[in-house]
């Protein structure tokens, strides 16, 4: 086994309200997740995605912290936790579907020691950017952040979804991810 391997490369065939990355191999020490996401929302904005580990969806499981700027904000931050919310808010960024250019938000995420059963506190770190504009203008977003869950076993599943409070939104077909393992 190489010390760095692509575990899976997936392009979403049909739009979905919730994208589950299941049965994650436990053969590695750290995970790297590259996500390119677009929503079905007909809007030039960019939007936050939610994320959970395994099947932990109850309240008071997660915390997060984010730093970002966008086309209307020179710089802001937000944080909650530990154990303050039922998901990692402001996790993966998602581009809207309103722009003429078929652009996707870019998320590069890392989970150190994801397979450890001794390190029960799992954290995900990320860098992200998105721009949905064209020559007439639009939106952009860039930021970095972290999410965490205490008392978590090895991570075998990640779930992501559009998370901005408007029902009916989906991750659009054509969105894709590459999941890689660091041995």
């Amino acid at each position: 086994m190489a010390d760095f391997e692509v575990i899976s490369e997936v392009t979403l065939g049909s739009s979905t309200s919730q994208w589950v990355i299941a049965d994650i191999s436990q053969d590695y020490t750290h995970l790297e997740l590259d996500l390119h996401l677009r929503a079905t929302t007909v809007n030039n904005g960019t939007y936050p995605g939610g994320m959970t580990f395994n099947t932990f969806t109850g309240s008071n499981h997660y915390g997060y912290g984010v730093v970002y700027s966008n086309n209307s904000d020179n710089g802001s931050a937000s944080d909650v936790g530990p154990d303050g919310v039922n998901r990692i808010q402001y996790g993966p960024r998602i581009s809207g579907d309103g722009t003429a250019s078929d652009s996707y938000a870019i998320n590069k995420m890392f989970i150190a020691n994801y397979s450890s059963t001794a390190i029960l506190h799992k954290q995900i770190l990320w860098q992200q950017s998105a721009a949905t504009g064209d020559s007439s203008g639009g939106s952009w977003f860039m930021g970095f952040g972290a999410g965490a869950k205490t008392n978590c076993g090895a991570i075998t599943q990640l779930t992501i979804w559009p998370d901005w409070g408007t029902s009916g939104q989906e991750i659009k077909a054509g969105s894709c991810y590459t999941l890689s393992g660091w041995k």
Partner: protein, 175 residues
């Protein structure tokens, strides 16, 4: 990401030392990547942070600097340290029990063996802190203004508290 990646070493804390040290790092790669989860033991379940300083090749001269953006208390902040005796962006968490928390980081060092370059680092990190959320969610560009190839990296708790045995740092070489 480049495909030729080799795991050079993985070290745990010992519960008796405040230093995790990578020594004799081979010069056979182009870049280095570290991933880590760190804590030091304390009774109780509250979390607090302690700085983990980073030094290269045993150098404790004022050859280091950090420029970083981070968040604390829902507020964006920035910090720059110059003429410092270490890199400062990483923290470990002081905690125990089932709600144990860790300071987590990813550190990328391009050109670590290039004797014509000062060394630069891209660092991401974060840690929980009781009542205050994900403190020290941080992105830093840091530097060690020396030309020497990096052969040793020391991660040291600045308060000399010991790293727990479940603390772990992995080092990879990238060609």
């Amino acid at each position: 990401m480049a495909s030729a990646i080799t795991k050079i070493a993985e070290l745990n804390g010992t519960n008796s030392s405040s230093v995790i040290s990578f020594t004799s790092i081979p010069s056979t790669y182009k870049d280095l990547m570290f991933f880590g989860s760190l804590r030091n033991f304390a009774s109780g379940t509250s979390y607090s942070h302690q700085e983990v300083k980073i030094n290269f090749n045993g150098d404790t001269g004022t050859n280091y600097w950090d420029a970083y953006s981070y968040q604390r208390d829902n507020t964006i902040r920035y910090q720059m340290y110059t003429s410092s005796d270490r890199l400062r962006p990483i923290v470990c968490t002081t905690s125990s029990g089932s709600t144990t928390a860790y300071g987590t980081f990813r550190l990328f060092c391009p050109g670590y063996r290039d004797a014509s370059l000062y060394k630069r680092f891209d660092i991401l990190g974060a840690a929980h802190q009781t009542s205050n959320g994900m403190q020290n969610t941080i992105q830093s560009n840091s530097g060690w203004d020396q030309y020497a190839a990096i052969t040793q990296v020391d991660f040291t708790n600045t308060l000399a508290n010991t790293f727990t045995t479940d603390s772990r740092i992995s080092l990879y070489g990238i060609k």
